[in-house]
C-alpha cells in the first residue's frame, strides 16, 4: 500500500509542471473568456458589468452563416489533407529507413520560415498575373467545355471542391486570389504536414506483411489499402483529423490575407470584434460559440462510439454464451 501511495506521489510530482502549464495557459484563460461573455462592454474598449447583453447581441443573422461556412471549409480542408496525406504517409513508411528520416525532415523544412511570410508568398503566387492563375483559368475552361459530359456525381464533386463553377461563368471573372478556393488551397498547403506526421508515425508501426496477406487472399492493391491499411492506421487518421480540423476552425491569417471579402470566417470576425471594434466580450462570446459548435458534435460522436463498443462487447458475450450452452446463434 505504501509503495503505491509513494509512486502516486512521485507521479504527481512529475506531472505537476504540465498540469500547472495547462492550468495557467489553458484552463484559466478559457474560464476568463467564458466569464467575459457574461459582461457588457464599455465605450473605451474595456469590459463592463455582469450582463447578458453580449449574448443578446450575438443574435446577428450573419453569424450562423459564418459559423457554418467556417465548419464547411474546415471539413473541406481536413478532407483534402487526409486524402493527400494517406498515400504520402504510406509511401514514406515504405521507403528504406535512411530515406524516411530525410523525407520526414524535408517535410518540416517550411517551418523554418514564418507562417505569415509563407501565406504572404502565396499572395504573389495566386496573383491574377501569376502562372497559377493562368493554370486555373485553363482548368476552368476545360471543365466548362467538358462539364455537361461528366457524370452527375463528378459534376457535383467538382463544384463542391471549388474546381468548377456550377453555371457557365466567364472564366475571366474567376480569380483564385481573394476567394474561398484560395483559402482552401493554402490551408491544405499549411496544414498538410500536421496530417502527414501522425499518419506517418502510425504507418511506420503498421505491419506491411498484412497487405501481402490480403493480396494473397485475393484482394486487389487498392482494396487491401482501404480495408487493411486504413483501419490499421485508424489512430493516426483520428489524430490527423484533429490536428488539421482544430487549427482550420480557428484559422484567421489565411482568410484574412487570401480570402478577400468572399471568405470571411469566424476567426476574422473574432479578430475584428476584438481589435477593431474593441469589444472583448463580444469576441469572447463568438469564440465560445465556435468552441461549443465543435465540441458538442464531437462529444456526441464519442458517446455514440462508446455505445457501439459496448454493444459489440455484449454481442460477443451473447454469442459466447450461446456457444457454451450449445445453442445456435448469429
Amino acid at each position: 500500500m505504501r509503495d503505491v501511495s509513494k509512486s502516486g506521489k512521485a507521479e504527481w510530482l512529475v506531472t505537476m509542471p504540465s498540469f500547472l502549464w495547462l492550468a495557467v495557459f489553458f484552463a484559466v484563460p478559457a474560464v476568463i473568456v467564458l466569464a467575459f461573455t457574461f459582461h457588457g462592454h464599455t465605450a473605451n474598449g474595456g469590459v463592463g458589468d455582469w450582463s447578458l447583453s453580449t449574448w443578446r447581441e450575438l443574435v446577428d443573422p450573419d453569424y450562423p452563416t459564418i459559423v457554418w461556412k467556417t465548419i464547411r471549409i474546415s471539413v473541406e480542408v481536413t478532407f483534402w489533407c487526409i486524402l493527400l496525406s494517406l498515400p504520402c504517409a504510406y509511401a514514406i513508411a515504405r521507403l528504406p529507413k535512411r530515406w524516411r528520416a530525410l523525407v520526414a525532415g524535408a517535410m518540416m523544412l517550411p517551418f523554418w520560415t514564418s507562417f505569415v511570410v509563407r501565406v504572404f508568398a502565396w499572395k504573389t503566387l495566386l496573383h491574377p498575373n501569376g502562372w497559377l492563375q493562368a493554370c486555373y483559368l485553363t482548368w476552368l475552361r476545360v471543365c466548362d467545355w467538358a462539364f455537361d459530359w461528366l457524370p452527375a456525381f463528378l459534376q457535383k464533386f467538382l463544384v463542391w471542391a471549388g474546381l468548377a463553377s456550377a453555371g457557365h461563368v466567364d472564366p475571366a471573372m474567376s480569380t483564385i486570389l481573394d476567394s474561398e478556393a484560395a483559402v482552401v488551397l493554402v490551408s491544405v498547403y499549411s496544414f498538410l504536414p500536421f496530417a502527414i506526421m501522425p499518419l506517418y508515425t502510425a504507418a511506420e508501426k503498421f505491419d506491411f506483411s498484412l497487405l501481402e496477406a490480403a493480396r494473397d487472399l485475393g484482394a486487389k492493391n487498392f482494396y487491401a489499402f482501404r480495408r487493411i491499411f486504413m483501419p490499421g492506421v485508424r489512430q493516426g487518421i483520428v489524430s490527423a483529423v484533429l490536428m488539421v480540423f482544430i487549427p482550420a476552425i480557428g484559422s484567421y491569417v489565411i482568410p484574412q490575407m487570401l480570402g478577400g471579402t468572399e471568405c470571411v470566417l469566424i476567426g476574422n470576425k473574432i479578430f475584428m470584434r476584438a481589435m477593431q471594434n474593441r469589444n472583448i466580450p463580444h469576441a469572447s462570446a463568438l469564440a465560445t460559440l465556435m468552441a461549443v459548435s465543435v465540441l458538442v458534435p464531437m462529444g456526441v460522436a464519442m458517446w455514440w462510439k462508446h455505445r457501439q463498443e459496448m454493444r459489440d462487447r455484449r454481442r460477443l458475450d451473447v454469442r459466447t454464451a450461446q456457444l457454451m450452452t450449445g445453442g445456435e446463434g448469429q
Partner: protein
C-alpha cells in the same frame, strides 16, 4: 492423382549478384504434402514467394493445373499462404479474418457463414469467433491463419515455416494437427521449413534445397537413408563420413581404404571399381557400441573396430557416444529398449567395440 499438377520449369531468380533460385525444376502431384527443406537463405522461401506471386522469376515458368501462372498477380491465383508471423488482420475479428477471401470472391452470404462456421468448428475455435487476433495464443493464431488460407479451398496451400514461432510442445501438437487437416481437406500443401523433423514427419516428398538448387527430391525415408550428397546426408540428421578409395570389389560389396581408419566393408550400390574415391555415410544409430566384441560368426562379415569412449550424452531414450576409432571421432547412438539400470554400463575411456553391417553404410558421393 495427376502428377504434373504444379510444375516449376527451369525457374531462376537473382537478387543482384546473388542467385537465390538457380534453374530449379519441380513437379508436384495433386493432393501431395510437399516440403522444401533447407538452411536459411537457401532459396526455399523465394521459391514459395514466386508461387504465391510476390516475386517474379528472371527466367523459367510456373504452371498450375496446366495454366501458366508465372505473371499472374497474387490476387489472381488460387494459392494461399500461411505466413510465418500469421499476418492475421488485427482490426478484424477471427470470423472476419476467415471470411476475408470468401467475401472477396463474392459468395452469397449464407454460404460464407456456413463455410466460416464449418472451418471454425474444424479448428475448434468456434467459441473464439468474435475475438480479435491479439486476444489469442500463438497456437490459436496459427490455427486461424491456416483456416483463413484454407476456407475458400485454394488449389495449393503454402506454409512458410508455420511452426517456427511456437514452442516445442505446441509445435509437436500442431504437427499432428496439420497432418490431420491435410488428410481432411485433400488440398496440395507446399511446406517450407529448415526443420528436418517437421519435414520428415509431414511430407509425402521432400525437396532438399541448398544454394538455390534442389540437391535431392524424394520420399523422407529415401532422403534419410540414401542421401544424394554430402550436404543432404549432413543436413538431415547426424552422420559419420568416411572418405577413402575403393581397394577391392567383392561381388555386391567392396572394401574402402580410408585415411586414418581401418578398411571398411560397404555395399557397392554405385557399382564403383577399384581405385575410385568415395564418401561413405554411416548414421550413428546404425553403429553399435558394446564392451564385448560381436560373436565371431557375425564378426567375419561385418565392420568391427576396437575403440575408446570419449564423450557420452545420456538422453533417456538413447545415449549418444563419441568414440575415438583410428584417427576419427565417430558418433554412435544406442537406443534403450530395455531397462537401462540393469545393463553393464559403458563409461568414459572404456575400451569398446563399434560395429555395423556393410549394408548400413551408404555411399553419398563418388568422385
Amino acid at each position: 492423382m495427376k502428377d504434373d499438377f504444379l510444375v516449376f520449369d527451369h525457374v531462376t531468380k537473382r537478387f543482384g549478384a546473388l542467385t537465390a533460385v538457380d534453374d530449379v525444376s519441380l513437379t508436384i502431384a495433386k493432393g501431395e504434402f510437399f516440403s522444401l527443406l533447407g538452411p536459411s537463405g537457401c532459396g526455399k522461401t523465394t521459391l514459395l514467394r514466386m508461387l504465391g506471386g510476390f516475386e517474379r522469376p528472371d527466367s523459367g515458368r510456373i504452371y498450375l493445373e496446366g495454366q501458366d501462372i508465372t505473371d499472374l498477380p497474387p490476387d489472381q491465383r488460387r494459392v494461399h499462404t500461411v505466413f510465418q508471423n500469421y499476418a492475421l488482420f488485427p482490426t478484424m475479428t477471427i470470423w472476419d479474418n476467415i471470411a476475408f477471401s470468401l467475401k472477396l470472391s463474392k459468395r452469397p452470404k449464407p454460404e460464407i457463414e456456413e463455410r466460416v462456421d464449418e472451418i471454425l468448428e474444424m479448428i475448434q475455435m468456434s467459441e473464439h469467433a468474435w475475438k480479435y487476433p491479439n486476444q489469442l495464443s500463438g497456437g490459436q493464431k496459427q490455427r486461424v491463419a491456416i483456416a483463413r488460407a484454407l476456407v475458400d479451398r485454394p488449389q495449393v496451400l503454402l506454409l512458410d515455416e508455420p511452426l517456427a514461432a511456437l514452442d516445442l510442445k505446441l509445435r509437436q501438437h500442431m504437427l499432428i494437427e496439420l497432418d490431420a487437416i491435410h488428410d481432411q481437406v485433400g488440398i496440395t500443401f507446399m511446406y517450407v521449413t529448415h526443420d528436418q523433423g517437421e519435414a520428415m514427419s509431414l511430407s509425402d516428398r521432400i525437396a532438399v534445397v541448398n544454394k538455390g538448387k534442389v540437391e535431392q527430391l524424394d520420399v523422407p525415408a529415401k532422403i534419410y537413408e540414401a542421401p544424394a550428397s554430402r550436404f543432404v546426408a549432413s543436413f538431415i540428421g547426424d552422420t559419420n563420413f568416411f572418405s577413402g578409395e575403393i581397394a577391392s570389389v567383392e561381388g555386391d560389396y567392396c572394401t574402402i581404404q580410408t585415411e586414418g581408419f581401418p578398411a571398411i566393408k560397404a555395399y557397392n550400390d554405385k557399382n564403383l571399381s577399384a581405385g575410385q574415391r568415395v564418401d561413405l555415410s554411416v548414421r550413428p544409430e546404425k553403429i553399435r557400441v558394446t564392451l564385448n566384441p560381436p560373436p565371431p560368426e557375425k564378426g567375419a562379415s561385418i565392420n568391427v573396430f576396437p575403440s575408446r569412449v570419449q564423450d557420452i550424452v545420456y538422453q533417456g531414450v538413447y545415449t549418444k557416444y563419441w568414440i575415438k576409432a583410428g584417427d576419427l571421432r565417430v558418433a554412435a547412438l544406442k537406443p534403450h529398449s530395455r531397462f537401462l539400470l540393469d545393463e553393464e554400463k559403458i563409461t568414459w575411456n572404456d575400451d569398446v567395440f563399434v560395429w555395423w553391417h556393410p549394408d548400413d553404410g551408404y555411399m553419398v558421393e563418388a568422385k
